[in-house]
């Protein structure tokens, strides 16, 4: 297999930020037992961080012992949601502009979200503008549902994707 980037830059993984008690609450630690019921009907919208948490642990197809987060291929700020339209926009950054794995990475992200996001969300996936030499081609492929559907019926490709996704559920 061709090596596209033998020595990628590694970044410090940022653990998801600690959630303090709700600003509205007065109590540092709430001993009240009814707390849970209070929150029963409060809706926690799906946000940037949650979606990032879904994809950050996907294995990089070229560096099997590193995740997309380690290599900053995906970051929380590169994820945008418009809850009103139910559209999720995901931008990822290949480690090198000639990385032949980019389509596979994008496909893995798509499949992961296909399986783990509510169906109401339409997902658009693109590489970071200017981060890849064949940016347009990759984006077009990743967002052509027919091509994606066909790709997932291709055993070889599907295995490759599954390989990247085994680590996806290790999220802490």
């Amino acid at each position: 297999m061709e090596i596209y980037n033998p020595n990628p830059t590694v970044y410090k993984s940022t653990r998801p930020t600690v959630r303090y008690p709700k600003e509205s609450s007065l109590w540092l630690v709430d001993d009240l037992d009814d707390r849970q019921d209070k929150d029963e009907d409060e809706v926690e919208e799906i946000d940037q961080d949650e979606i990032f948490d879904l994809i950050r642990s996907i294995t990089d197809p070229e560096h099997k012992h590193m995740t997309l987060e380690d290599l900053m291929v995906v970051t929380a700020p590169q994820i945008h949601i418009s809850p009103a339209k139910n559209v999720v926009d995901i931008e990822f950054t290949p480690t090198v502009p000639h990385c032949g794995m980019s389509t596979l990475i994008g496909l893995s992200i798509r499949v992961r979200l296909l399986r783990s996001l509510p169906q109401r969300f339409k997902v658009d996936i693109r590489v970071k503008p200017g981060s890849h030499q064949s940016e347009h081609a990759i984006n077009k492929q990743l967002n052509d549902k027919e091509r994606v559907a066909a790709a997932l019926e291709n055993p070889a490709l599907l295995t490759a994707v599954e390989d990247c996704l085994v680590s996806a559920d290790h999220r802490d």
Binding site: N7, P8, T9, V10, K12, R15, T17, V18, Y20, P21, E23, S24, L26, W27, L28, V29, D31, L32, Q36, E40, D41, E42, V43, E44, I46, E50, L54, H63, H65, M66, R115, S116, L117, P118, Q119, R120, L165, A168, D169, R171
Partner: protein, 1018 residues
């Protein structure tokens, strides 16, 4: 079982031992057989003889008989039909004292000339090798003197052996020969008959009876391969080849073997092959297939370096003069560290760290190379952004250096020469958000390096950390936590600096009065400050300051009496937060049993009691936050924690004071502090019509009692009467659950620790309390429910210590199953008795019999299962189901797993119970059970389809309001595919995925996470 022949043998042996017949006569007697024409006869004959010898005690063999037998057997070796039994016979002889070296020589010669191993079965080959082994053990010199003849002969026997059992033996022999015999000219041949087995690929058959593991073989083989330096020139190339070719397993085996061999093969060989070796090791380190191999490779590198450099002249050489491989590798790594932010940098760092723990010289040398490089790079980097990476590397090096120093015999502090520049870099790195994380790690490592930093330098670090804490205003992120950890580790060496500079800083940021409701940011600020204090102040000196400052602050803000109209909530919350901080620190201190905790029974407890009693007694209408139950609760936690750590003899006076205060209104011995309690204010929480505020304080009574040690006496004239009244009070006079629970906790812990003092109460409760307060249906439902709860605590206290009365108490509950009004409460009670709670537990010095939960289960389960089957009375049946659910969830699964097939259908029915908590419990139970069954999941498989359907029904928000149930159901669904065969689940796959898709849109983040996991597992 014994065959006819066995008896004959026994007989003969008897005759011989009884001196009836000499061994030789037996031989004579057998003569015709031993020399018979028919092979079978001969075989049988020799067979028989050998068996007899095998069972004869050694003293029966005099020198002469041995002589004859040796001769005889050696002769029989030439005869293929008697060879096999002959070898057996010989093996018996070799171990005899009367068996001499000449015999040994004769035997081996005979073996060499007659035995062709290939023709023999494993067991016989084994015997042959055993003979050699036995001779080698007893007549080594004789065999040595045989010289080449023996060596060649043996190699003939050992060659081509395949069976692991025999190999274990052969390898052992090989080692002896290689070490002790003169094998120089045969080294090639030995190489061939040993290295040919490397790497061991043997897989033991399932349930292999000889229990020889591949690891055993590998170890024994290694002991041959590293037996002689002479193998070096031949061995190393072979290892190199295996390294490049092999699978990860082979690689690891090779690396481990290399580690065991190189030191033996010696510097010369190591130097000669050094570069080649490093080239393949580098590959494993810099493009690791897996971490395990990577680590082995690093170890091997260390061994290689040690082998080369851990020699006399090297040791004496000053480190500047390190030449050759180590130098090259070092330089190579440092070159890579020109780009420390890159992936390869990681591995270079690992390599260098590995270097530090090779030889002290190398360690000094490596540091002298890498530290200046890094500090230099830090001072003028190509881009500032890589500084973070530099600091990261530096920190790892520091940590490694520390570990070396701590193990070094000379106690040398290798980092000392570079202390200043490193400290400089780290402090700069500390200031920059991107690099502060690793910088903190580095500083921690420096702090924890013995003899590295001076007290002033510690002060310097603290000073810088303070500035940082101040600037971020303690905005709670990871770095703050890390900073605090750093301070903690510093204060464990010298608390002074933190105490003098950091704490004042933090305390000063605590407001003197609570910020109003809407002032979220200020509130957040004091939360963070308290969190910081909590992390910082468990060291004794610091904790003392903390206690003084916080309790003073507490008194102060509680004192601010206010008109009843004003909003006390923020103040209460603030006070609560203060107490909570104390409680949290205490918790960790008690856990690590710090010796300074007990003294707070005098320093802190009285102040708290004073504050709360005073506030409860306050007669002027002004409301005080210290009457807020939530504050009382957390104060109670503090008190219990202190008592947990206190000795009986220190508890004694406190307990006396406690009772005096609550029962005789003598508060002076218990409470003392800022607020003045005037004598005219009577503290009478138990008296009829006592105000709510006082009655709530019964909680602080219980929290004082529950952690009392069993040696401490109950300072009341008639304990039984006391408990009796208290129990009635809990049912009839108490206003709220806080008061009721408190009363029950007191009763429970006394009954559990000193039942003998309250035997009357125990019998009395059975005779009067049960019938009047619980069984009788003219009592109101509410009081009956309370009474049942009281009963649970009683039964539990007794059951935990295995008190004779406990069974009576527990069984009573079943009488209520038929009583519709309270059957559910009774059923739930069953589980609560088995379950753990926060009162009756070891830390509180409760008396706990081992396996009490199991015992409860064994006693009740059959009865419950039976009851749950009776369909006659649905009410009763449900009650039994509820009991089952609540019991099972409170006991370890080992206690019921054997019943699982009987339980499964019941549990499934339990999932239809309307009560969500019970449902969730049942699901959790099923989870544990299913997980436990993963080895043989038959029972689960039978019900798989039903389970899936039920769980789906419980996992979607639209149909199941309870978050807990949804989460549990999804967790369970996620588990199934790992436990149940695919083909069983497949039919439902489509449906499951469709349903789970809905769960993905759950309003709750936590539930969604489970849904995601479940769906990807399916």
């Amino acid at each position: 079982m014994t065959t006819g022949r066995d008896q004959d043998i026994e007989e003969t042996v008897k005759v011989i031992t009884s001196g009836g017949a000499g061994l030789l006569n037996v031989v004579k007697a057998l003569g015709e057989y031993l020399t018979a024409e028919e092979e079978e006869m001969r075989t049988k004959g020799v067979e028989f003889l050998s068996s007899v010898l095998g069972r004869c005690p050694p003293e029966q063999f005099n020198r002469q008989s041995v002589r004859v037998l040796v001769n005889f057997y050696c002769g029989k070796l030439e005869d293929t039909d008697t060879l096999v039994p002959a070898v057996k016979g010989i093996l018996c002889l070799t171990s005899l004292p009367t068996f001499t070296s000449p015999d040994a020589v004769e035997v081996v010669k005979a073996l060499f000339s007659n035995v062709t191993m290939k023709a023999l079965v494993q067991s016989v080959r084994f015997t042959v090798l055993s003979v050699v082994d036995s001779l080698l053990a007893r007549h080594r010199d004789a065999l040595k003197n045989m010289g080449s003849e023996f060596v060649i002969g043996y190699m003939g026997l050992a060659e081509g052996e395949k069976d692991p059992r025999n190999l274990m033996l052969a390898f052992a022999i090989d080692r002896v020969l290689l070490i002790e015999f003169d094998v120089e000219k045969f080294i090639e041949d030995f190489f061939n008959i040993t290295f040919c087995y490397f790497p061991i690929t043997f897989r033991p058959p399932p349930d292999d009876p000889y229990g020889i593991t591949p690891e055993d073989l590998k170890q024994t083989l290694r002991s041959c391969l590293n037996a002689t330096p002479a193998f070096g020139p031949l061995g190393i190339p072979l290892f190199l080849e295996k390294l490049t070719a092999g699978s990860p397993i082979t690689k690891r085996d090779t690396l481990r073997t290399l580690c065991s061999c190189l030191p033996v093969y010696g510097p010369a060989a190591a130097i000669q092959n050094g570069r080649k070796l490093w080239n393949s090791l580098r590959l494993e380190i810099f493009q690791p297939t897996d971490t395990e191999t990577e680590e082995e490779a690093l170890k091997a590198t260390q061994v290689l370096v040690r082998t080369i450099y851990d020699t006399e002249e090297q040791r004496n050489a000053p480190h500047q003069e390190i030449e050759g491989l180590a130098k090259e590798i070092c330089e190579e790594c440092i070159k890579i560290l020109q780009e420390p932010e890159k992936n390869q940098g990681r591995y270079a760092t690992k390599t260098l760290c590995a270097f530090l723990s090779t030889t002290e010289n190398i360690c000094r040398y490596t540091l002298s190379m890498v530290i200046p490089h890094l500090t230099g790079l830090f001072r003028n980097p190509d881009e500032v952004t890589i500084r973070a990476a530099i600091v990261t590397v530096l920190s790892e090096i520091i940590a490694a250096a520390r570990d070396v120093s701590s193990t070094s015999t000379t106690q040398e502090v290798f980092l000392l020469p570079y202390k200043d520049e490193v400290l400089g870099v780290l402090v700069v790195g500390l200031k920059n958000p991107s690099s502060s994380g690793p910088a903190i790690d580095g500083l921690k490592s420096m702090v924890s390096t013995r003899g590295l930093l001076s007290d002033e330098e510690l002060g310097y670090i603290v000073h810088n950390v303070n500035e940082l804490l101040d600037s971020v205003g303690g905005s709670a992120d990871e770095s703050t936590d890390a900073l605090l950890e750093l301070l903690v580790s510093i204060s464990s060496h010298s608390p002074r600096h933190v105490e003098e500079t950091t704490l004042p800083l933090l305390f000063s940021s605590l407001p003197d009065s609570a910020s109003p409701r809407e002032a979220d940011s200020e509130r957040a600020k004091y939360w963070r400050t308290l969190t910081s204090l909590k992390k910082l102040c468990s060291q004794s000196a610091l904790f003392e300051t903390l206690v003084i400052r916080l309790s003073t602050k507490l008194d102060f803000i509680c004192e601010q009496g206010a008109a009843p109209t004003t909003d006390l909530e923020p103040t209460a919350a603030y006070a609560h937060a203060l107490l909570h901080t104390l409680a949290d620190v205490l918790t960790s201190k008690v856990k690590d049993d710090h010796p300074d905790v007990p003294k707070y029974i005098e320093r802190l407890a009285p102040r708290l009691y004073n504050l709360f009693i005073y506030s409860a007694l306050k007669s002027d209408g002004s409301a005080s936050v210290a009457t807020d139950p939530r504050l009382i609760k957390v104060a109670g936690r503090v008190i219990t924690l202190i008592l947990q750590a206190t000795s009986a003899q220190k508890q004694e006076p406190f307990i006396v004071g406690l009772y005096a205060a609550y029962l005789q209104s003598e508060v002076t011995r218990l409470a003392s502090g800022a607020q003045k309690i005037t004598p005219d204010q009577l503290f009478v929480p138990f008296s009829p019509g006592a105000p709510l505020a006082q009655k709530n304080l019964v909680h602080l009574f219980s929290t004082g009692v529950v952690a009392a040690r069993k040696e401490v006496e109950i300072p009341v004239p008639n304990p039984s009467e006391f408990l009796g009244t208290l129990l009635m009070w809990s049912v009839h006079s108490a206003d709220n659950s806080l008061q009721r629970d408190s009363a029950w906790h007191i009763i429970a812990s006394i009954v559990n620790k000193r039942p003998e003092d309250v035997s009357l109460f125990l019998t009395g409760s059975l005779e009067t309390f049960w019938p009047n307060e619980i069984a009788s249906s003219n009592a109101s439902v509410t009081t009956r429910r309370f009474a049942i709860n009281g009963w649970i605590w009683l039964s539990k206290a007794l059951w935990l210590r295995g008190h004779p009365l406990s069974t009576q108490y527990v069984d009573r509950l079943f009488d209520l199953f038929s009583d519709a009004t309270v059957s559910w409460d009774a059923a739930r009670a069953i589980g609560m008795i088995g379950g753990s709670d926060d009162i009756l537990k070891k830390p509180n010095h409760s008396v706990l019999k081992v396996l009490y939960a199991q015992k409860l289960c064994t006693r009740l389960l059959p009865r419950i299962i039976e009851g749950a089957k009776i369909t006659a009375n649905p009410g009763q049946q449900t009650a039994h189901l509820v009991a089952l659910a609540s019991l099972i969830k409170s006991v370890p699964q080992t206690t019921y797993i054997h019943e699982i097939s009987a339980l499964m259908p019941l549990l499934l029915r339990g999932l239809d119970l309307p009560d969500f908590d019970i449902r969730a419990d049942v699901i959790d139970t099923l989870y544990v059970a299913t997980e436990g069954q993963s080895s043989k999941p038959t029972i689960v498989s039978e019900h798989a389809t039903t389970l899936v359907t039920i769980m789906l029904r419980n996992s979607v928000a639209q149909e199941m309001p309870s978050i807990r149930v949804r989460t549990a159901a999804l967790k369970y669904l996620a588990l199934l595919p790992n436990v149940i065969r695919y083909d069983i689940l497949h039919p439902q796959k489509a449906t499951v995925l469709r349903e789970l898709a809905k769960a993905l849109d759950d309003p709750k983040r936590g539930v969604r996470k489970e849904a995601v996991e479940a769906r990807s597992n399916w």
